[in-house]
């Protein structure tokens, strides 16, 4: 295009896989094998498949970042524009799931420029390209703006801008919106769509929630289960989604307008467990992030705490869980919850929390303490000094209920995302708390894990446990929660707003 005003690159990239496979070093089974796939230049592909089908491995392979011989073993052939992907680094741009971990530099402009420097673009050309890339993703910030102060959605758009500035022929997105609030999801999706329209670059996206990307893609490829080799379905989105419905549902894909599970209404009446009045919350005493919060968590009810990124939802959860002291106002446990202790949960001993309030952290890895799944589940019951027989019973019951038996001896850190999430919930309920506080329990999970978690939480609710869940997940708020509490001023405080596009 004329005048250098566009971010168009000379050509889109084509991908060819012939009998391609990859086995990570130290794993017996290959993550992908026997894959035959052709993606033509300029196509926009949504890549689907069950957890463990090797979607990420394929995407990293195409991006040329799987590494060398010490990282794993490559079989067959995978070519981008007829060359090995690692040879054409810079021809493809990869955006990963975790918005925090991809920021390289301290300032917005420098971060976008990073890739251009590596491609040895002359300095005079770098800054105009940086500005255009930032404009293309709609990130209207000064170049000196600190990257530490960006929201999750802004960080993902920054990562996208960093990739776009390199003018790749191929844009690869690995669940780029999984950790974003509904607004962030739409921002990033729209930015990608605008860029794909303008550049004509080939686009490959991995995402469980199909509805987010359906307006953007023109082809759906479904990978078969690991090791079985190859492609389960391939074609126009509407066709594939209609003809492969059962397999996709089994594989944990969120089909549009499909709720994985519709729970029944609460079985019992509610009674207050924990009440906050004029509550101020914050992680440091001098810096309250929210004030004047009024809310009650009831036994036998699921309370969803919603609101955009950064309003202090996690801080509220940690405060309600008795882990952070309130900075003002009161937070009082009912007699049923306190069970003989004073009413302020933040003043209870760590061990006293176990049978009263259980907490599931946003990142399961923060709460793992031991080297095996079984030992992990025993931590709480052991701290409660339960007898060995009782410990064993509880742990076995949870292993079965959460389909973790075959992993009892595995290291928690080696589990898949869905398995880690199930384990972290299991560790919190092993001590049978009266109140369970969860931070983003269903976020970024595929439909299968979502359904299991929803069933589990509704089951606990009907046993009379009170549940507080901080969540961005509109589907969860709509279908599973009994009440919604909006912490952000920006959102209306009444119940049930229309579901976001990331949901349902």
């Amino acid at each position: 295009m004329a005048g250098g005003e566009s971010i168009v690159r000379t050509g889109a990239s084509a991908i060819t896989a012939r009998g391609w496979g990859w086995r990570h070093a130290g794993r017996r089974a290959p993550a992908v094998q026997g894959l035959d796939l052709d993606i033509r230049a300029g196509e926009r592909v949504l890549l689907l498949g069950a957890s463990g089908a090797g979607k990420s491995t394929l995407l990293h392979g195409i991006a040329g970042v799987l590494g060398g011989d010490e990282d794993g073993e490559s079989i067959g052939e995978l070519l981008v524009d007829g060359r090995r992907p690692s040879a054409g680094r810079g021809r493809s741009g990869l955006v990963l799931q975790d918005p925090d971990a991809q920021v390289v530099m301290a300032r917005v402009g420098d971060d976008v420029a990073f890739g251009l420097e590596n491609l040895a673009v002359p300095r005079d050309d770098i800054w105009p390209r940086v500005r255009r890339a930032l404009a293309a993703v709609g990130l209207d910030l000064p170049l000196e703006h600190s990257t530490a102060e960006l929201s999750g959605g802004q960080r993902q758009r920054l990562a996208l801008a960093g990739v776009l500035a390199m003018r790749p022929g191929l844009i690869l997105l690995d669940e780029p919106t999984a950790n974003l609030d509904p607004e962030g999801v739409r921002d990033v999706r729209d930015a990608v769509a605008a860029v794909a329209d303008e550049t004509g670059a080939t686009l490959v996206v991995i995402e469980h929630r199909v509805s987010v990307w359906l307006p953007v893609v023109d082809r759906v490829v479904v990978l078969d289960r690991a090791g079985s080799g190859g492609v389960l379905a391939d074609g126009a989105p509407a066709e594939v989604l209609a003809s492969r419905r059962t397999e996709l549902l089994d594989g944990g894909v969120w089909l549009p307008d499909e709720l994985p599970w519709q729970p029944p209404a609460p079985a019992h009446g509610a009674s207050a467990l924990l009440t906050g009045a004029a509550l101020s919350i914050g992680r440091t005493p001098s810096l309250p992030v929210r004030e004047h919060i009024q809310l009650t968590a009831d036994a036998g009810r699921i309370l969803a705490i919603a609101g955009p990124n950064g309003v202090g939802k996690s801080t509220l959860a940690l405060t309600m869980a008795g882990l952070l002291p309130p900075l003002g106002g009161t937070l009082e446990a009912s007699d049923a919850l306190a069970a003989g202790l004073r009413p302020q949960p933040s003043k209870w001993r760590s061990r006293d929390l176990l049978a009263r309030i259980g907490t599931v952290f946003q990142n399961p890895e923060h709460q793992f303490l031991t080297g095996s799944v079984r030992a992990e589940l025993e931590v709480g019951p052991r701290a409660l000094k339960l007898s060995e027989r009782e410990r064993r019973e509880r742990v076995d019951e949870l292993l079965t209920a959460l389909r973790l038996e075959h992993l009892a001896g595995a290291n928690p850190f080696t589990l898949s995302g869905g398995e880690k999430r199930r384990l972290s919930v299991a560790t919190a309920i092993a001590t049978r708390p009266r109140l369970l506080v969860l931070d983003e329990p269903t976020f970024g999970q595929d439909a299968t894990t979502w359904r299991e978690l929803a069933k589990l939480l509704v089951g606990l609710r009907d046993d009379g446990v009170g549940i507080v869940a901080v969540t961005h997940d509109e589907a969860f708020v709509e279908a599973v929660a009994d009440r919604r509490f909006d912490l952000g001023d920006a959102l209306p405080a009444h119940a049930s707003t229309p579901a976001g596009e990331g949901a349902a």
Binding site: L96, V103, F114, N118, A120, G162, S350
Partner: protein, 259 residues
């Protein structure tokens, strides 16, 4: 959160960090060579004057230089108590011999620590890590992979601080927060290591995906100038060192440590 954030409006913020580091070297060498009160005291006076004149007086007296003012007398006191005895004995208690000589050494040590650490701390507060990396790679031609890798790692320190806090809360939630402080801290340190390695791995992949580590030359978006201002900064550093040494020699207090 980020560490070492710099207010870009500070005087000297635009000067190549390599020059700022280099400017402190001559004085450090002089003050390591001699052990006397005069040279270091003259240096401190010069430093206070220079920093105040160029508008860094605020930083000089900010809480961030407090560690220097605390650490220096502590070092001095240990020299007073345990330094090699000479001259009249003022106080004797077991292995502690306070003598005229050791008091002199203690005072000299205190002012030397201040004279060396104060400019280092003040100048470092004006250095943005990104600019330092640019300077190290472009001015000193250190390998880009090494410099940028270290810079990226520095950004992860902030996440590690947040992780540590969360790990702490998670231990309380898991019912093991009441006892066994030492063992718990060790376990927590291990968890932090695992989390940091994972984060580092993702960052490395993201950097690689953007062409980092590829063969061949790379360009630099931000030029690292090394011109007149930089030479003036280094010159002022040299002058301070020379002046301190001269005054010490003229007053007869120059006292080379191996003599």
């Amino acid at each position: 959160m980020s560490i070492a954030s710099v207010r870009p409006g500070l005087p000297l913020a635009a000067v190549n960090p390599v020059a700022k580091v280099a400017a402190t070297v001559p004085l450090s060498i002089v003050l390591i060579l001699t052990l006397d009160v005069v040279s270091a005291s003259v240096a401190i006076v010069c430093e206070l004057l220079v920093f105040s004149l160029i508008g860094l007086g605020g930083l000089l007296w900010s809480p961030r230089t407090l560690p220097v003012w605390i650490a220096a007398p502590l070092t001095g006191i240990s020299m007073v108590l345990y330094g090699s005895p000479s001259g009249e004995v003022l106080w004797d208690f077991g292995v502690i011999h306070v003598t005229e000589g050791s008091v002199q050494i203690g005072v000299a040590t205190t002012v030397r620590v201040i004279a060396i650490a104060l400019p280092a701390v003040v100048l470092f507060l004006t250095i943005d890590p990104t600019d330092l990396a640019d300077g190290l790679a472009q001015t000193l031609k250190l390998p880009a992979r090494f410099v940028l890798g270290a810079l990226a790692a520095l950004r992860l320190v902030g996440s590690a601080v947040d992780d540590w806090r969360t790990l702490n809360l998670a231990r309380r939630a898991r019912g093991i927060g009441d006892t066994g402080m030492i063992r718990r801290t060790l376990g927590q340190a291990f968890s932090l290591l695992v989390l940091s390695i994972r984060r580092g791995g993702i960052l490395a992949t993201a950097m690689e995906a953007r062409g980092f580590g590829a063969e061949g030359a790379r360009t630099w978006a931000r030029p690292a100038h090394f011109g007149g201002t930089e030479w003036i900064v280094i010159g002022v550093g040299c002058l301070t060192a020379a002046f301190s040494a001269t005054v010490a020699v003229l007053t007869g207090s120059w006292n080379v440590i191996w003599s």
